[in-house]
């Protein structure tokens, strides 16, 4: 029996624009042209069919904290948010040898989504001994990273990049000089001074960016910076690009939506790592998105238990969920500021390509993976929006413009 679905009155993204409303006929994951009066139907009421998104920065904390969140929760979140897959980096269980790679590959394979894995740079993310990067590369990792941990001393970093250069794969770094970060929690600036909270200077990021860029330029290896938070880092990256380096970067969804002024509310959901910075920095990130310097918007989907979030700001654990709400949180802003083409590049094409995956696209007689999004709808962010038992997000309780109606991924339709 054919798996037929007709999404009626939908505006699919084809060849760089949203078509006029049509009936999108889907058969076993393919946009087809069939006649089937008994096919299942869904009236999209003029909603967009956006090529499925690709998630950057996902970590479900399994297996160390399966009391918080499970892989299954994460897979549901991806489907709800319209993600065909993502780049998974396990901070709880570093993928530092083939055995661990094979175990996680087996688990994410069950999702039927396209989840790519980052291998570790060092054993147990300790920054002391190299992970078996050649074997991990042969085993299929998309690149290398050390979670959001510090990557050892500079000598170790240099050796790791030098050794890993043999694989030709990209290194992913969250740039942070941890000696400068010290006990800091929030952006070091007027707000941290006013509230008397320990700050993390921008220097902690820019010095790390500079160090990594110098090493990458010298070794001629591709690098990606995760969650850039300030304009000064983007300037360094732009200069390295001019010097011929293959360097890419992303910015976090919440760093585009919030800045330090929002910290006056002391909402522990805004306890994020890295921290949101000044309004000027936020604007610099948007400029980086407009200019093309920033390739992707990352989700940094990181579950934290309510008891670790529903505490005073300084005692809260950093991290936030985003997969289920990223599109309504950003789509209209992105469309207004950079246009739909760039928005799709940032959320779908670029992150997929950087992870070595095939970007989703909509074309007759080809695989169709998309998220059905009604820009005129509304999403009220309640705990029920999120999969699993956690709901840590600074957008909790807010109303967002736009609503995900469902997703069609690998031939499976999930209405939201």
């Amino acid at each position: 029996m054919n798996n037929h679905l007709v999404v009626q009155n939908v505006r699919p993204w084809v060849d760089g624009k949203f078509k006029k409303p049509i009936d999108l006929k889907l058969e076993n994951g393919i946009w087809s042209d069939f006649s089937d009066s008994e096919a299942e139907t869904f009236d999209a009421e003029g909603a967009y069919a956006i090529p499925a998104l690709f998630a950057f920065g996902i970590d479900f904390q399994e297996p160390v904290r399966d009391d918080i969140y499970t892989f299954e929760d994460g897979f549901k979140a991806l489907r709800r948010g319209g993600f065909i897959g993502g780049l998974y980096e396990s901070t709880a269980n570093p993928i530092d040898d083939l055995q661990k790679l094979s175990a996680v590959t087996q688990i994410v394979g069950k999702s039927k989504l396209d989840i790519r894995l980052l291998g570790a740079i060092s054993k147990d993310f300790q920054g002391e001994h190299l992970a078996e990067m050649l074997e991990l590369s042969q085993g299929g990792v998309a690149g290398f990273g050390d979670g959001n941990r510090k990557v050892g001393a500079t000598r170790f970093l240099r050796l790791a990049m030098e050794y890993g250069s043999m694989t030709g794969k990209r290194f992913f770094f969250l740039p942070m000089d941890y000696s400068l970060k010290y006990k800091g929690l929030v952006h070091e600036g007027p707000v941290s001074d006013t509230l008397g909270m320990k700050g993390i200077p921008k220097l902690a990021e820019t010095i790390a960016v500079h160090k990594i860029l110098e090493l990458a330029l010298w070794l001629k290896i591709p690098v990606h910076f995760k969650q850039i938070t300030c304009g000064e880092s983007l300037e360094l990256i732009a200069r390295a690009k001019e010097r011929g380096l293959d360097v890419t970067c992303d910015v976090g969804v919440y760093h585009l939506l919030f800045d330090e002024s929002h910290l006056f509310g002391l909402d522990s959901h805004l306890n994020l790592h890295p921290p949101v910075r000044s309004a000027l920095d936020r604007e610099a990130l948007w400029n980086g998105i407009s200019s093309g310097l920033v390739q992707a918007i990352s989700c940094n989907h990181f579950p934290v238990l309510p008891q670790d979030k529903e505490v005073n700001f300084e005692d809260a654990l950093p991290g936030a969920l985003s997969l289920e709400i990223l599109l309504p949180a950003l789509w209209n802003l992105l469309k207004t500021r950079v246009g739909a083409i760039r928005a799709i590049e940032l959320l779908s094409n670029n992150p997929a390509l950087l992870a070595g995956a095939r970007p989703a696209a909509l074309k007759l007689n080809a695989p169709a993976d998309f998220v059905l999004f009604q820009p005129k709808g509304e999403t009220l962010v309640t705990s029920s929006v999120f999969s699993g038992q956690v709901h840590n997000s600074p957008l909790l309780g807010k109303s967002l413009q736009g609503r995900i109606l469902g997703s069609y991924l690998k031939g499976l339709w999930s209405a939201v």
């Binding site: 001994h129 190299l130 078996e132 170790f156 050794y163 043999m166």
Partner: protein
């Protein structure tokens, strides 16, 4: 007998092809002598050789000692474990004291690059380098070249792959200088953390990160010993990964010429840089390297002494 241009054997960098030729040709004569029932010749009778080993060595020291004895020299062994160096004596003082005993040749091994040159600069004795730091080990390279020539004829145009820890290897460096001077084509292969930082400085050598491609057209492969401390120094993740990607195994040799020579300076980490069955297999010339080492060291001692024995 022709004379060497060099006065000491410090290294093979900047040594002329004529000197290397003379050393190899003379080695052949001594190699023949080693096949005789009586292997001793009187060439260095009356001369005193000091084996000055500041680093542990069994093979090289034994090989030199045997070469000296077969040339009828008087030999003295000086090792740090039984010397005044342990009591804090400086290198120069040690040398002057030994020299005061009227010695003629010094064979020296030291962990520091340049020590043989330092001794040559500050002494009247003839100095032979038995390994200085990661700089040079000229007699090892000469015996490697001799073995290749013995098996395959002229070195010119021969393709030699050197696989392993090139960055920290004095054997690799001396071989690079010697082999390229003699017209061989050298390919270096190893993990990027164990490859020299300035490959261009090595002249006309090729670099290859895939061991299968490195051995593909090679006439000989010199595998280098992997030191375990490379793991502690974060230069490699594990012996296992090294073996899987850079070890010489049957699978790797499937890509090579059937006649490829398997060489190793010893001691071998079996199952790491070289699989046991390859080390002991038909293509292995590792034990012949050891025998040839004595002949090459006899030739070096003989040529460098340059007739002092007859004075």
């Amino acid at each position: 007998m022709s004379a060497l241009e060099m006065k000491h054997l410090i290294g093979l960098r900047n040594v002329s092809a004529a000197d290397i030729r003379l050393l190899l040709d003379t080695s052949r004569q001594f190699r023949d002598i080693l096949e005789r029932p009586v292997k001793k010749v009187p060439s260095l009778r009356g001369l005193t050789v000091v084996n000055l080993f500041f680093e542990n060595s069994t093979r090289t020291r034994t090989s030199f000692e045997l070469a000296e004895k077969r040339l009828s020299a008087d030999t003295v062994n000086f090792t740090t474990s039984n010397s005044s160096v342990q009591k804090g004596e400086s290198l120069l003082d040690t040398l002057r004291n030994i020299e005061a005993m009227k010695i003629d040749l010094v064979v020296v091994r030291h962990r520091g690059t340049g020590v043989p040159q330092f001794l040559a600069d500050h002494s009247n004795a003839i100095v032979l380098n038995a390994g200085d730091g990661a700089n040079e080990h000229p007699t090892q390279a000469l015996l490697d070249m001799f073995t290749i020539e013995q098996k395959l004829g002229s070195l010119r145009g021969k393709r030699v792959a050197i696989v392993g820890d090139i960055r920290h290897s004095r054997v690799a460096r001396s071989n690079i200088w010697g082999l390229t001077t003699m017209g061989a084509e050298v390919t270096l292969c190893g993990p990027s953390t164990l490859i020299p930082h300035s490959p261009d400085f090595f002249g006309d050598v090729h670099f290859e990160s895939d061991v299968r491609r490195a051995v593909q057209n090679a006439d000989a492969v010199i595998t280098l010993r992997l030191q375990k401390e490379r793991m502690d120094d974060s230069l490699l993740p594990s012996m296992r990964e090294y073996r899987n990607f850079f070890g010489i195994t049957h699978e790797v040799l499937e890509q090579a010429k059937p006649s490829i020579l398997i060489m190793h300076p010893g001691p071998i980490n079996r199952g790491v840089e070289l699989d046991s069955e390859i080390a002991d297999g038909a293509n292995s010339v590792i034990l012949e390297q050891v025998t040839n080492g004595v002949a090459v060291r006899m030739a070096a001692l003989y040529l460098l002494s340059g007739g002092r024995a007859s004075e």
